[in-house]
């Protein structure tokens, strides 16, 4: 073979690869003259070189293909068949090139079949003005060799169907004189009847199936990827599942034999298995964007049909998930996007009236969170119409008027998931036939996902779906009830609580309904053995047990079991068809010891508990939202001096320490311990120091400006996040008051009281300044806790502190004529917030120059900037006591000098 030929082969092969890829792109974007130009040029070059080298077969084929592309370049409408035909031609060219490479000369053969098809199509494309009508006839006879070599997979379209779809469009499109087939049926100018629309919409789908097929036949191109049959992957996955099971069994056996020579190799096997499992899982992972591919077209079609302008934003399309899950969520996603377009977004007119941009936005976002993927579909439309839903609920007899009265808005919104519910006032072809959200919900439930809905009237709605990344192998908690073991998917487990007769967590009853107080909320409980109607093992212990706190959507409930073992990666096996009607279970699995156990379906349990739970849960949620408004504070709960619980804000505590009792020394009647190279004084909460006699002594260490003190406590109980409400103010020094934390009355310690006990000059040494002692400070904070906590600190720093519980009150005090040297204000306050407060001060001449320091738990740059604009002189994080003192010193000095 001469060098010239070899070079030709390499070059041509490369060119053909490019043509392949470009053609697929071109089919999707037939208006792109650039792509077409590129393809045309490449094919032309191939043709030219073939002629030069004397390769008649190649030349003839390339020529025929070029002719057809020339027609396209000249403006003939691009058809899917045409592109397919060219792709076939490319394949044939490659075939010939392959033979050429092996034999050194062009193989014998006849390409008349392809060439005649190409010519026929060129002729059809060329004959104006209404060529499309005849074209299918040409194609019909000639495309006989386009049979797929494999059976169609679900979701794929047969070539016959494709062809039929094309044919139907051709006539449609010809009528509206819009030629491109691969672009969505465009007809904003022409508004044909609905039936026409539907016909036009069909090829859109077909076109999507088209490229992927061509793609598949194109084979491996350039990249380091390999197409593998899905069945092969499934088979691999099954085998890996078996391997995982066997591994678990072996581990279980070795666990029973302390000293086994198998231990080390088994460990290795276990690791390799885990890696293999990971690897195989990865092969099944696909970007969620694959499920979104069709959406831009659907949205565009809908926009046209509904006369709305819709923009579809997609974020996180690269987020990967198991293809099995992907397949299952495709339809629900499409449905929800349709819903948003149809129900959610208003018409341009309505949007204009509402002061929104005419173009509505539907946003899809996907991201990973733990072992799940979260998909949010939001729109900036009108939101759910609560009144309309309410009316519909009553009409459909889903609930009575009286029942609805008791429900919150969010609860009413949930009814859109009820079977047969649809709110569209008019049934459109898009949605509104009442087979909507309940189907979506069922689909999501089936794959162990949860669905949640948030809607703000006039601002839009967001549906959030949380689904497991994979269905094949999941992490599950193994529990026992009535002597039987069950697996509960970790996905829905929030926490485990042990209930005992005399502990703070005990099962209480309202009539016969068991409930648990958990962080000041009532959690509905259900005994698994009662729910499943099983008996055996230990008799039911009414008060003791383990509670698996489970969340499904916004529903939270506790499943009471007898025992909790461990979590295990379980391989989910589908349930026998004879058992599938039991909604409490989602599948079966084989444990490491070889026994089969049932996998609990939290969705089934949730619905078995009934709507009462969801009502309770929603109230609880509403409660917690109200709580959010009150601000949650992490508190460190401990015991010291007495049996009562005491607490301090966790953020004030530098460190929790345990020191050996024999390390505690005494000097000058004070207890000291060497701590990080310095002596740290120890202070007790009650007056008298009561140290442990042996072992180690727990301490809370508070540090500030290089100094530390240790507060001696008896026992650290817990760290609790709770809204803090000091209900009873304390008379005792060192206590701010009492609050209910985790259902128990708890004394809140005033650390400001203890710090000077350790170092008398704790607050003063830096700020020691005669002037400071006479300065007046106005402290505005709606939280009594912060007022109580910071006032002593500020006083200790030498300020005369006046407090106000609201911005309005503070303004009154300021306008009352009292002169203040500095104002410290919280930002997050009800009614008038800190920003508005500062702006109000700035607008008052007398107050304009007075320094104001913002105190906030929001410390993002945007908030800081907002504060600066509002007129704050400084911005301090809420628990940064040192920063506050420094800021005060700086600003008030400036102000004093200026004044």
């Amino acid at each position: 073979m001469d060098d010239l030929l070899r070079e030709f082969l390499t070059e041509t092969n490369e060119s053909l690869d490019v043509v392949d890829v470009e053609l697929v792109r071109f089919e999707q974007d037939p208006n792109n003259a650039g792509i077409l130009g590129n393809i045309f040029r490449l094919v032309h070059t191939i043709k030219g070189t073939c002629g030069f080298l004397g390769l008649p077969r190649l030349e003839a084929l390339a020529h025929a293909a070029e002719t057809l592309m020339g027609k396209y370049r000249d403006g003939a409408p691009v058809t899917g068949e045409g592109v397919t035909l060219i792709l076939f031609t490319i394949d044939r060219l490659k075939e010939i090139l392959g033979d050429l490479e092996g034999a050194g000369n062009e193989p014998e053969g006849d390409d008349g079949d392809l060439i005649s098809q190409l010519e026929a199509m060129s002729a059809a494309a060329g004959s104006a003005p209404a060529p499309r009508v005849e074209e299918p006839k040409v194609a019909k006879g000639t495309l006989a060799d386009q049979t797929l070599e494999r059976a169609l997979r679900p979701g794929e379209v047969s070539l016959d169907e494709l062809e039929r779809a094309f044919r139907e469009t051709e006539s449609e499109v010809a009528a509206t004189a819009v030629p491109e087939m691969a672009s969505p049926p465009i007809a904003p100018e022409a508004k044909p009847a609905k039936a026409d629309k539907k016909a036009a919409a069909r090829p859109a789908k077909a076109a999507n199936a088209g490229p992927s097929e061509d793609d598949a036949e194109g084979g491996v191109k350039g990249q380091q990827t390999l197409r593998v049959n899905v069945d092969t992957l499934e088979q691999l996955m099954t085998m890996v599942s078996e391997l995982v099971l066997t591994r678990n069994q072996l581990l279980e056996i070795v666990r029973r034999h302390e000293e086994s020579e198998f231990k080390v190799p088994l460990q290795r096997l276990s690791n390799v298995t885990a890696e293999l499992q990971d690897g195989v899982m990865k092969t099944r992972m696909q970007p969620i964007g694959n499920a979104w591919q069709k959406l831009p077209r659907i949205v565009r079609d809908l926009g046209n049909e509904l006369g709305k302008q819709i923009e579809l934003e997609m974020h996180g399309a690269e987020t990967e998930l198991d293809r099995q899950v992907l397949d299952l969520i495709k339809d629900p996603l499409t449905h929800m996007v349709r819903n948003s377009a149809d129900h959610g977004l208003e018409s341009p007119e309505q949007r204009r009236l509402a002061g929104k941009p005419e173009k509505g936005t539907i946003k899809l976002a996907a991201y990973h969170e733990g072992g799940h993927i979260v998909i949010a579909i939001s729109d900036d439309g009108r939101g759910l119409n609560t009144d309309r839903i309410r009316k519909k609920i009553v009409e459909q007899n889903l609930a009575s008027e009286a029942e609805l009265e008791k429900l919150t808005e969010a609860q009413i919104h949930k009814y859109i998931f009820a079977p047969g519910f649809s709110t569209a006032a008019q049934v459109t072809s898009v949605s509104g036939r009442g087979v909507g959200m309940d189907v979506v919900r069922t689909n999501i439930d089936q794959i162990g996902g949860t669905i949640d809905l948030k809607s703000v009237q006039g601002e839009g709605a967001t549906v959030t779906i949380k689904i497991p990344l994979t269905l094949a192998i999941v992490s599950a908690l193994i529990v026992e009830s009535a002597g039987d073991r069950f697996a509960i998917p970790q996905l829905s487990v929030i926490e485990l609580v042990r209930a005992q007769q005399n502990s703070e967590h005990r099962i209480e009853r309202i009539k016969d309904t068991p409930v648990l107080r958990l962080r000041n909320k009532l959690l509905p409980l259900v005994h698994l053995r009662q729910l499943l109607g099983i008996a055996g093992g230990e008799p039911l212990d009414e008060t003791n047990g383990f509670i698996v706190v489970t969340q499904v959507g916004s529903q939270t409930f506790g499943i009471v079991v007898d025992q909790v073992f461990h979590t295990e990666e379980i391989v989910v096996k589908p349930m026998s068809s004879k058992l599938r009607h039991i909604t409490m279970f989602s599948g079966t699995t084989i444990l490491g010891d070889g026994s089969v156990i049932m996998i609990i379906d939290p969705n089934g349990i949730a619905s078995a508990i009934g709507t009462d739970v969801s009502a309770t849960a929603d109230e609880a949620e509403a409660d917690s939202r109200r709580g959010d408004a009150r601000q949650l504070i992490s508190m460190l709960v401990f015991r010291a001096g007495s049996r009562e619980q005491k607490a301090v804000p966790l953020s004030l505590v530098t460190r929790l320490e345990e020191v050996a009792v024999d390390k505690i020394e005494q000097a000058h009647g004070r207890h000291l311990v060497q701590y990080r190279g310095a002596l740290m004084p120890l202070i007790s909460v009650a007056g008298e120091m009561r140290l442990k006699s042996e072992g180690s002594q727990p301490l809370l260490v508070f540090s500030d400006a290089g100094r530390s003190m240790g507060l001696v406590v008896d026992e650290i109980v817990d760290i609790v996040e709770d809204a803090l409400n000091i209900e009873v103010a304390a008379e005792v020094p060192g206590m701010l008051g009492s609050a209910v934390i985790k259902g128990q009355a708890t004394e809140i310690l005033d650390i400001g009281h203890y710090l000077p006990l350790a170092f008398e000059d704790w607050f003063k040494r830096k700020e020691m300044n005669a002037a400071a002692l006479t300065r007046k400070l106005l402290f505005v904070d709606d939280s009594p806790f912060f007022r109580n906590m910071l006032t002593p600190v500020l006083k200790a720093a030498g300020y005369d502190v006046i407090t106000a519980s609201a911005a309005a009150e503070a303004l009154d005090i300021l306008k009352g004529g009292d002169r203040f040297d500095v104002v410290v204000s919280d930002i997050e306050m009800p009614e008038m917030n800190g920003f508005e407060f500062a702006e109000a001060m700035r607008s008052d001449k007398r107050l304009a120059a007075m320094p104001v320091i913002a105190l906030s738990s929001l410390t993002n740059p945007a908030a800081i900037e907002r504060a600066r604009v509002a007129g704050f002189h400084d911005y301090v994080a809420k628990f940064d006591r040192q920063g506050l003192i420094a800021a005060l010193k700086e600003t008030s000095v400036d102000y004093a000098q200026a004044a």
Binding site: E242, G533, S576, K578
Partner: protein, 153 residues
């Protein structure tokens, strides 16, 4: 002639359930095994004894005594199970004991007696007259379908 003779003969795996001899067409029997570590399935149909692990496959066990309306011997655990596959799923029919494999020609086969207990008639594909006893032919598909019917009802 030889060929037709063998074609007509059906081989049956015989089993005992509550003292009665039953025969299952051997083509439908996958294996015979000792049911071990049966896990009961709460809320399942009473005929379903539970699920078990048979060499990595999950098998749904059907208690034939319950299915046939016989009393279950509380103490005696079912000793044996016949493995059957249907529509890609594995089932195990719990029986008392397994007998020999019989080659039977259709000559000895008869229709179900019309006075046969309805529950039995539904799963029986006929009766073979053997020497000294009768063998009821178990129609495997009907055995498996029964659960569905009752559930639907």
């Amino acid at each position: 002639m030889q060929k037709t003779a063998t074609d007509d003969v059906t081989e049956y795996v015989t089993v005992h359930i509550g003292g009665q001899l039953f025969g299952l067409p051997i083509s439908r029997v996958q294996d015979v095994f000792m049911p071990d570590r049966l896990t009961r399935v709460p809320l399942a149909h009473p005929d379903i004894a539970g699920v078990l692990n048979l060499r990595g496959r999950i098998v749904t066990a059907i208690d034939m005594r319950v299915r046939l309306g016989l009393t279950r011997d509380k103490d005696a655990k079912p000793a044996m199970a016949v493995g059957i596959e249907s529509r890609g799923e594995s089932y195990g029919l719990l029986i008392d004991s397994v007998g020999e494999v019989l080659k039977l020609s259709p000559d000895s086969r008869e229709q179900n007696p019309i006075n046969l207990d309805a529950r039995w008639a539904r799963v029986s594909g006929g009766v073979h007259r053997l020497d000294g006893q009768l063998m009821v032919i178990l129609d495997v598909d009907s055995v498996l379908a029964m659960g569905g019917e009752q559930m639907a009802a």
